[in-house]
């Protein structure tokens, strides 16, 4: 009996490890192919612009809403805490730094993963199960070049744009709450917002967001590209895409934060 359980466990671990290694290999190959086609001209910039509209412009309302309310709630929360030791004037600083360094890039990335990354998976997954991707191959057209590269370009370029917008809207949301509800002085609030902000805060946030954009689009396309099993498979792939995207964003966020802020920025060394 014990032997049976031990063998079963070993089999499970073995199979899981093999599947995992296979998946990592496939993903590595996919990223390699994508980078290869990214470096080959001509790039399909028309398709990339269409995808920029999809990833960028169409995500604008939901990013705006998320950033606005995050900035507002951040002002409310920090004001409540800071009031206890008379540091209400630092609310603007906290909102500004939190939005540019962390919340702007991360929240934008999460929102875009749910909205655009999942859409990429669903689109490519549907194309896979309806043999449209095979049809591209038979027409001597490489699907990575035609479908993946424009999406990766769009994701990588549009995330920083959305992040700048989210930073701005978040700071604005905090300003509105602080000035209109909490009675802060508008000039002093804005002064404090930018007093401690450094070029690196904004730059590192944008760099992070570019990496997040790349992750979202590659994961979204990868999951769609290898979809199996009809409509149900498309649903499963879409869920996997969002979960995997979230996990990789949090992982990359920690690594990038540790790298970018470790020299004089107060970040941890890992």
């Amino acid at each position: 009996m014990l032997k049976k359980i031990a063998v079963g466990t070993l089999e499970f671990v073995g199979r899981y490890t093999i599947d995992m290694v296979k998946a990592i290999g496939l993903m590595g190959e996919f990223v390699g192919d994508t980078m290869k086609w990214l470096s080959r001209k001509p790039l399909r910039m028309g398709a990339a612009v269409d995808q920029m509209v999809e990833v960028g412009a169409n995500s604008f309302p939901v990013v705006f809403f998320t950033a606005m309310f995050t900035g507002m709630v951040l002002a409310l929360q920090s004001h409540t805490g800071f009031k206890r030791f008379g540091a209400e004037s630092m609310v603007g600083t906290v909102v500004g730094l939190s939005m540019t360094r962390e919340l702007g890039p991360v929240l934008t990335a999460l929102v875009v993963t749910g909205r655009a990354g999942s859409a990429m998976t669903a689109q490519l997954g549907t194309m896979r199960v309806t043999e449209q991707i095979d049809a591209l191959y038979t027409l001597a057209a490489n699907p990575i070049k035609y479908l993946v590269v424009p999406r990766v370009i769009a994701g990588t370029l549009m995330l920083p744009v959305l992040t700048v917008m989210a930073d701005f809207v978040g700071i604005l949301g905090g300003f509105v709450v602080a000035v209109m509800l909490l009675g802060a002085n508008p000039v002093l609030y804005m002064e404090k917002t930018f007093e401690f902000m450094e070029y690196n805060d904004m730059f590192s946030g944008l760099l992070k967001s570019m990496v997040f954009g790349f992750i979202i689009s590659v994961v979204g396309c990868y999951q769609g590209f290898y979809t199996e099993g009809g409509a149900e498979g498309v649903g499963t792939a879409t869920t996997k895409s969002v979960v995997m995207g979230f996990m990789l964003i949090f992982l990359a966020n920690y690594i990038l934060t540790a790298l970018l802020f470790s020299n004089g920025g107060g970040g941890a060394k890992f």
């Binding site: 449209q132 095979d134 191959y137 038979t138 027409l139 001597a140």
Partner: protein
């Protein structure tokens, strides 16, 4: 023209192809029959290089498909046209965009010339003034016709038909069979059709090959496959075809003369 030699392919524990040998001659209409899940689609995908065999090889015009680099494979694929089971039209492109896709990507033709060729191909499959429609606006039969127009747009030497009549009503299936016969004869191409529809096989085949348990178990002219087989699996599968041919013989007309 096309040689499949000792092809093996497995997906996990499912051994789909187990030593397939098949020779398709230039200019002939080869129909590969077999039940669902016997590996017909897998076989046809090996021919055009969408799948790689675990063992064995496919040769097209002397080139071993598995040995070709990406660019060479793409050049080889330009010899092919393929009609997919569900037509596989690109949802995001119009009918005109679908039919003219390869012309736009692989030729230097001006847009006006591409439009002319698209119109010509659509007319060959009996469709007019549909260039601006989206695939979602088409019926199943119309999609197949547009898929056929896309397959012939680059003047291919070989056309692959993946279950061309599946999912169509008998009248539309007949229309598609007629179109296959008409276009392949007009363009003088080699055609490879996979189907489990014996009516269709009867209509379009110069030769029929039956795939069963991962191997080709019968091959020959329709009459040879329908009447001269001792294998019970083959006899059972082609029974409807045999009845059709006998009925036609009684009626005094031969399907091949049409």
């Amino acid at each position: 023209m096309i040689f499949c030699e000792n092809l093996y392919k497995a997906f996990g524990d499912n051994h789909v192809l187990q030593g397939v040998d098949l020779h398709i001659k230039r200019g002939e209409s080869m129909v590969i029959i077999g039940g669902s899940g016997t590996g017909k689609s897998v076989l046809i995908k090996h021919i055009i290089g969408l799948l790689s065999p675990d063992a064995g090889r496919v040769t097209v015009d002397g080139q071993v498909v598995g040995d070709l680099h990406e660019d060479e494979l793409n050049e080889m694929r330009k010899k092919f046209g393929m009609l997919f089971q569900g037509a596989a039209l690109f949802d995001s492109l119009t009918v005109g965009g679908n039919v003219g896709f390869a012309l736009k990507e692989h030729t230097d033709l001006a847009q006006s010339k591409i439009d002319e060729r698209v119109k010509e191909c659509l007319e060959m499959v009996g469709m007019k003034d549909v260039e601006r429609l989206m695939p979602a606006e088409l019926s199943g039969g119309m999609k197949k016709r547009v898929g056929l127009a896309r397959a012939i747009a680059m003047n291919p030497q070989i056309i692959l038909f993946d279950e061309p009549t599946t999912g169509l009503d008998p009248v539309m299936a007949d229309v598609i069979n007629d179109l296959i016969i008409k276009t392949t004869r007009a363009l003088k191409v080699t055609s490879v059709t996979i189907t489990h529809d014996m009516v269709s096989a009867n209509r379009i085949a110069d030769r029929i090959a039956m795939l069963y348990q991962g191997k080709i178990v019968a091959i020959g002219t329709p009459d040879e496959v329908m009447f001269n087989q001792t294998n019970p699996a083959v006899r059972e599968f082609v029974e409807i075809g045999r009845i059709i041919r006998q009925t036609e013989a009684v009626q005094g007309r031969h399907i091949g003369a049409q």
